[in-house]
Amino acid sequence: MKKGLRNWRLFSLFGMMALLLAGCGKPFLSTLQPAGEVADMQYSLMLLSTSIMVLVIVVVAIIFVYVVIRFRRRKGEENKIPKQVEGSHKLEIIWTVIPIILLLILAVPTVLTTFKLADVKAMNDKDRDKKGTVVVNVRANLYWWEFEYPDYGIITSQDLVVPTNEKVYFNLIASDVKHSFWIPAVGGKMDTNTDNKNQFWLVFDQKATDKAGGVFYGKCAELCGPSHALMDFKVRPLPRDQFDAWVKKMQNAKKPVVTDPVAKQGEAIFNKSCIGCHAVTPLDKRPEQARTAPNLANFGDRQRIAGILEHNEENLKKWLRDPESVKPGNKMTGTYGKLSEEQIDALAKYLMSLKVE
């Protein structure tokens, strides 16, 4: 067993090293670098539970190591018969009562935080100040996200834009199968069910946003099909005045005016093959069921192609050429026939020109 202990030590050392290397993850993605009130509360709860649990582990480890070393059957003890102890009421009471106390210490803040995080009264208040409290309707689809701002009448997708340092409220629903809406650094998470609407709130901290480089990563956390792993979205929190300006721009966005002749060609292809599903204005008035593909009004401003590829024309062409190779099981494959390279070039040019900002 001595050898075992040495291995154990070596192993824990290795574990620590790995941990240090990994750090606490990326500021735009890690729950260990909380970037808002919700994530903060959750992080403190994690710290509290971890400390209690480390205490437990230490106690067990001390007894464990002592017992395993002290009571080994040594040479010459082959015939030793230890005393057959039945138990000890005193000890039993100790290790029943102390854990109960420890759990109570954890249970109280858990319950309080759970209620606090579920407080969405403000968003359901009929007389609420529509400018003051931002509400976003999140609709999850295979494999993209739609963000509708009902108070402003605008719709966008894939990139969520929100104001910083204030509560942002969310209505969550899925249109096909169950997904789950998660922004690890900012707090999480809530399922988007197919049956009913869920509600919760988040706060996006300005300082943390700056530290994360202005963009947080969002994830789908519920297995939803072949491309579940690729159902990412991005969050762009802006200071309130910039957010208001963005909303204005979105509201005033007219049908895109294309001047470049190649892009014009692309527009023609788009209007023939794509417009049935994709809208190009943020003021899409069609009902939810008809909005079967991401809104592309501000496509040129996006962070990623298809949610995962770096945002450039080359990747856009790759995506248009064969969506299946990028996102297996996506709903766009095979809906627009085969395009020639020339047509793809034109389409890409047109799409990249779709900008609001």
């Binding site: 709860l45 649990m53 169950k178 399922d191 099909g225």
Partner: protein, 623 residues
């Protein structure tokens, strides 16, 4: 009996096993079938880890990856862990209570064959279009959306069939333990493993029906036009989640309680001490099982049940930590003051404590609902349940294999190889899963087939994959050990480890077909130990030597289960092909027809005469 078996030809041995109703042979069947599925599930795990070894890997992408991950989970839980535990329950529990067999030998065989054909059916999906791909939890909206192939139908029908088998096994053990205990074996003198089996069986009996109902609903929706989970027609997918987890959470205890039982036996045996705080251990087991039914919704904290439900289920979940903690301390104090011998099974038992405590404390962390919103469906959860299930259940299965192998087969597994297996497995296990806690905390969702670079997950995933290979090598060495032992292992006496405490060690290894020539009289906890301490080598008999009544073998369990296997194929394809419905009905006819035969043909069993018993006993003593 093994000496007789060895003289038979291969065909005769095969027929013997196909028709056996002997709990010891059924244990062998469970061990072989469960072991096979364990290897299969392990292979699937390796494929998963290979795919995740680096970002943007294209070894196993999209839908196929989902099939592998679904089958890994389903296979490991339903077809490997549970059957392997059933193997030990069958092999050991009747011996531990001093019984000649289980209460329903026929049902016992039927339970095995149901499980076997259910598992076989499930795995047939690989060759018939595709395996189920909605995760082992098979959440309804995704499962109904999976229309490319019949994978999910194989899941619903296969698990229904194997589920019937499991329920039969549970009823069988409950009745066996209540009715068939030897004189003097009161409930509070039962070995801990028997207690665990008893409580587990009760859990199975009450937890499996909700799963069956859920599976029936899903089958109806997918194959017969039902609307249970179709929101457009008024259905509700959350019902599936509730039904699944009302089963799913107790299922975790169905796996872990017998594992606790195995470790309790091993700690006591190799510390040469009676189990510390036996009565509180029993109480804790019952309490864990009881709580197990009241916490299912902690798997659904993010579903949107509201803060009241979340808070209640959070606190209820935390409560489970108390009886579990009691158990951990009782094991530590069983060793305290003992004389610990570090055999291979004891290695696993000792390693189990820190490993399981790790899994247990993350369980408490997960129960804090508000914090769980962050952990839920991330790799943190993956790390947690593998710590519990591998560090608890798989360690117990490996420990039990080494511990009871001599009892089941009469030969000792090689200790050196056993310890090599242990170290590789132990190191591999922690390498694989420890780092996954941090993957989850840094934002990696579970069940993803790939990840992009620059999200801080490269190192963790690489380490994890390396660990998986350690476990794979360990398993290969275990297989080599088994082959070597079978060919030229050292034969052992009844009390193979020399420190046996419970009744199974008082009789020959492997035990004769009737187990006990004379039913023993039990005079306290650790009955065999008590006799040994008084200087006796054998148990005190409770009856004179006489003829022994034995049940007849039967081929019907095989046929009944085979009928369901056929029927499942028919119903799976009844919408696609004309032969579907007739084949389905034919299968049901085979099943109900053989049940009818079972009902009308009297089965009174046979007797082994006193003289034969004496002769067999003499042989056993010489072996």
């Amino acid at each position: 009996m093994s000496t007789i078996a060895r003289k038979k030809g291969v065909g005769a041995v095969l027929w013997d096993y196909l028709t056996t109703v002997d709990h010891k042979k059924i244990a062998h069947l469970y061990l072989i079938a469960g072991g096979f599925f364990f290897l299969l599930g392990g292979l699937e795990a390796l494929l998963i880890r290979i795919q995740l070894v680096k970002p943007n890997n294209d070894f196993l992408v999209g839908g196929l990856y989902n099939e592998v991950l679904t089958m890994h989970g389903t296979t490991m839980i339903f077809l490997a862990a549970m059957p392997l535990l059933f193997a030990f329950m069958n092999a050991v529990v009747p011996l531990q209570i001093g019984a000649r067999d289980v209460a329903f030998p026929f049902l016992n065989a039927l339970g095995f064959w149901m499980f076997f054909f259910g598992g076989l059916f499930l795995n047939c999906s690989w060759f018939l279009g595709g395996a189920p791909d909605a995760g082992w939890t098979s959440y309804a909206s995704l499962a109904l959306d999976s229309k490319a192939h019949h994978g999910i139908d194989f899941y619903t029908l296969g698990l229904q069939i194997s589920g019937f088998g499991t329920i039969m096994g549970a009823i069988n053990f409950l009745v066996t333990i209540i009715n068939m205990r030897a004189p003097g074996m009161t409930f509070m003198r039962m070995p801990m493993f028997t207690w665990a089996t008893f409580v587990t069986s009760a859990l199975i009996l009450f937890a499996f029906p909700p799963l069956t109902v859920g599976l029936i609903f899903m089958m109806m929706d997918r194959l017969f036009g039902g609307n249970f989970f179709n929101p457009a027609a008024g259905g509700n997918t959350i019902i599936w989640e509730h039904l699944f987890w009302v089963f799913g959470h107790p299922e975790v205890y169905i796996l872990i309680l017998p594992s606790f039982g195995i470790f309790s036996e091993i700690f006591a045996t190799f510390s040469r001490k009676r189990l510390f705080g036996y009565s509180s251990m029993v109480f804790a087991t019952v309490l864990i099982a009881f709580f197990g039914f009241m916490v299912w919704a902690h798997h659904m904290f993010t579903v949107g049940m509201g803060p009241i439900a979340n808070a209640i289920f959070a606190v209820a979940t935390m409560a489970i930590a108390v009886p579990t903690g009691v158990k951990i301390f009782n094991w530590l104090f069983t060793m305290w003051g003992g004389s610990i011998k570090f055999t291979t099974p004891m290695y696993y038992a000792v390693a189990f404590i820190p490993s399981f405590v790790m899994g247990g404390v993350t369980g408490v962390m997960l129960s804090a609902a508000a914090a769980d919103y962050q952990y839920h469906d991330s790799y943190f959860v993956v790390a947690h349940f593998h710590y519990v299930i591998v560090g608890g259940v798989v360690f117990a299965l490996l420990a039990g294999t080494h511990y009871w192998w001599p009892k089941m087969f009469g030969r000792m597994l090689n200790e050196t190889l056993g310890k090599i297996t242990f170290w590789l497995f132990f190191i591999g296990f922690h390498l694989t899963f420890f780092i996954q806690h941090f993957l989850g905390l840094t934002g990696m969702p579970r069940r993803v087939f790939t990840y992009l670079p620059n999200q801080g997950w490269e190192t963790g995933n690489f380490v994890s994959t390396v660990g998986a290979f350690f476990m794979a090598i360990a398993t290969v060495i275990l297989l080599i050990n088994i082959v070597i032992t079978t060919v030229k292992g050292e034969k052992v006496p009844g009390d193979a480890w020399g420190d046996g405490r419970t009744l199974e060690w008082a009789i020959a290894s492997p035990p004769p077909v009737y187990n006990f020539a004379q039913t023993p009289l039990v005079r306290g906890l650790d009955a065999f130990w008590l006799e040994k301490m008084e200087g006796k080598k054998e148990l005190t008999p409770a009856e004179p030597l006489g003829d022994i009544h034995m049940p007849n073998s039967s081929f019907l369990p095989f046929i009944i289960s085979f009928g369901l296997f056929v029927a499942a194929f028919g119903f799976t394809y009844h919408n696609d092909a004309g032969w579907g419905l007739p084949v389905g009905i034919l299968g049901l006819l085979i099943t109900f027809g053989s049940m009818f035969l079972r009902s009308v043909i009297d089965d009174h069993g046979f007797h082994i005469h006193k003289e034969e018993v004496l002769e067999l006993e003499k042989k056993g003593a010489n072996a």
